[in-house]
């Protein structure tokens, strides 16, 4: 026999043939190109070519071997370290030192990090770009519907004192002149803005100096904002800024962006050992970066609109400067960023028209101040 002349080694092993669970004590002989398994009586049980042998997970010092491709679940276990080392040198896919595994792991880690970077790039550049291109394609009717759904949710959050209908100002008898003044102001801006869909503006009983825009051109001015304003033009400036959000379809865009981000981060990346925490953190950072650009764009639009409507654009800057310092945490929809000074400076650069007409006269302005008095 060839074995005898080439001086191959042999030793003991435990063999499972993959057809039954019987445990067989066997002799393992290492041939030139293959490993042979013999029953104690000397009957050959199996012959495994070295290229077919693969190392499998096993406890401690045991070397567990199987066939590559996994057509059968035959297993051979070697407890003798010497014999194990000899098999390791002959079979390319047996990896006792773990070198192959470490290399594989390093490439997995490398590629996963690369995938993460590309995912972040998509989230940073791709998602806003896609949302920007998709937002104008959303039909006005769908946008209005979306707005109504968001408005329902928004109201249930904002209307914390559960006032129902009275949450909106301007409906009581004493409040109607204020409502009329607001309408006059909004009409002048709307006429200059030439929006594709009609605006809906309401003043609501919230004491924060803030205003929000929902998809479908729905605008909520908080009464805290009117209280803080020193002139009607300042209120008009903020409304012009919010009309900027409408014209840029920021509400729809932010819904699309939020959806895109949840899809990217929530579905593709999931939860194991609190990996979800990482996802939430990444989302928060990205979302705040989106809103920064959006606000700056709305500022410029608002200032230009003020000029077009024949008003003073500086009033918007003045108002932003005023409420920038007093932004409450958690209520930072209008001003959720610290660079108030830079924003005001950008608005100052828009040249006011030679003769700016105030939006309201003194009587109308004092009526607007009382729009929530009733």
């Amino acid at each position: 026999m060839a074995q005898a002349t080439t001086g191959t080694s042999s030793g003991a092993g435990i063999y499972f043939d993959g057809r039954t669970s019987a445990r067989q004590e066997v002799t393992v002989a290492l041939g030139e190109t293959s490993l042979r398994i013999f029953a104690p009586a000397g009957t050959p049980l199996a012959e495994w070519p070295y290229d077919d042998i693969v190392g499998l997970s096993a406890p401690g010092a045991t070397l567990r071997l199987g066939r590559r491709g996994g057509a059968t679940l035959e297993r051979l276990e070697i407890l003798d370290a010497q014999l194990g080392a000899e098999i390791d040198t002959r079979a390319a896919y047996v990896d006792r030192g773990g070198l192959r595994q470490r290399r594989q792991r390093a490439s997995v880690v490398g590629w996963t990090i690369a995938a993460t970077v590309s995912l972040l790039l998509v989230a940073w550049f791709g998602v806003p770009a896609i949302a920007e291109r998709l937002a104008p394609l959303v039909p006005a009717a769908a946008e209005r519907k979306l707005g109504n759904a968001v408005a329902m949710q928004m109201r249930s959050i904002l209307d914390s004192k559960r006032m129902g209908v009275a949450f909106e100002c301007g409906n009581a008898a004493g409040e109607r002149p204020g409502r009329a003044a607001l309408d006059k102001m909004v009409h002048r801006l709307e006429a200059a803005a030439l929006l594709p869909i009609p605006l809906q503006v309401a003043v609501v009983r919230r004491d924060e100096a803030n205003a929000i825009t929902l998809p479908g051109a729905q605008l909520y001015v908080f009464r805290g904002l009117i209280a803080k304003a020193d002139s009607a033009d300042e209120v008009a400036g903020v409304i012009a800024h919010e009309i900027g959000h409408v014209a840029h379809r920021d509400g729809t865009r932010s819904v699309l962006q939020a959806g895109g981000l949840s899809l990217l981060f929530g579905m593709l990346l999931g939860d194991f050992v609190g990996g979800g925490a990482t996802v939430i953190a990444a989302k928060a950072v990205l979302q705040s970066s989106y809103s920064r650009h959006v606000e700056a764009a709305a500022d410029l639009y608002g200032a230009d609109l003020m000029v077009k409507a024949g008003g003073n654009p500086r009033a918007l800057g003045a108002m932003i400067g005023k409420i920038g310092g007093a932004t409450e945490p958690g209520m930072t929809i209008l001003l959720d960023h610290p660079e108030t000074k830079a924003r005001v400076a950008a608005i100052e650069r828009v040249a006011p028209p030679p003769a700016a007409t105030p939006f309201l006269n003194a009587a109308e302005w004092s009526a607007l101040k009382r729009v929530c008095s009733g």
Partner: protein, 422 residues
Amino acid sequence: MTLEAGGTLTGGGVRPPDVRFLGERRSYWRLFVRGALLLMVTLGIYRFWLMTDVRRFLWSNTVIAGEALEYVGTPLELLIGFLVAVAILIPVYTGFFLAALDLGTVGRLSGLLAFAALGVLGQYAVYRARRYRLTRTIYRGLRFHQDGSAWRYAICAVFWWALTALTLGLAYPFQLASLERYKMRNTFYGDLAGRFDGSGFRLLLRGLPMWLLVMAPLAVTVGAFVEVVDWRALADALAQGPDNVMTRIETGNPQFADVILFGTLMTIASAAMAAIFYPTFQAMILRWWSSGLRFGGIEITSRLRTRQVYSAYVRFLSWALLFSLVAGIIASGALYLADTLPGASGPGREIAVTGLGLVGYVILALGYSTIYRATVLLSLWQLGMESLQLSGLEALDRVKAIGKASSPLGEGLADALNVGGY
């Protein structure tokens, strides 16, 4: 085998344990600490590799009657299963999103519908994921496998969960027994059929004292409310609007504040009771469950001690405390530095502080979950396994191979729906 007569101790000496766990705690820690770091930089994509490593470690270090288990699943399979699940779930989620926008009945019901549908799908995933894990488990050259309908299981499971909720947990033992019977009836090692012999009623009897101790404070609270509060006066007070509502409640119900205080204290007592008994509860379930497992003539008994489970939790609490202490010191140091550094002011500083806060939050969340897995979960596996005694092992010499490897879709769904297990 003659252990039935003599138990564990025979005249001559100690019989070697039937199941041993050889895994070193330190290797497990290393696995998880490295895994946590990689999860952080890969935003969680690494989890398929970590999960596979963990299973390989647990399986291959569990030695049953002299032979170690083997896990042959691969991370790539999990990744593919997950991608398939995503492909299935995206249209489902989109549908629910559109339904929620509808202002009519559909919109109002959509939340409920989504909850029910995802509940059924989650249980479906649980069953399919179990099938994947079983068919990737090899013992003595044969694989385990699982038959049965995952949809049927899912519907039964949702029904049982609803019943358990309605009975305030009293149906839970019967739920466990019934679902486990279904799972084990369809579980096979080669051609050796499994079954489950645990009795829900026995578990109920054992758990009842704990249930009573946790529920008693709540029942007393409800009793106090019914006894003391004048409901009509309370309704009137609430109906008159939000201004001065507390004063009006006080006039109608002079003892209202006392009852609220009493209720709060009792709820805290109940929660504390639940926390204190939780390890006992867990040990009781694990012991009951393991002792009910059967494979053909092989019977399993668990000798798990409750004390051991408590010590696992003590270890968890001490590590978590140490970790919190270190994290707290580092955080206050960082905040102090941020305050004193010159030139750091304005928006830049605010962004930096927010960013650091987020990183800190991620590190804390991953840290606690790593500690929990490396202490409580590893200990439960080890204790649960090492406390087992097997009889009828001679059946192991004659089992024949049947069953094929199943698709990893269930694991993917379970992962996407956050209902995954080990």
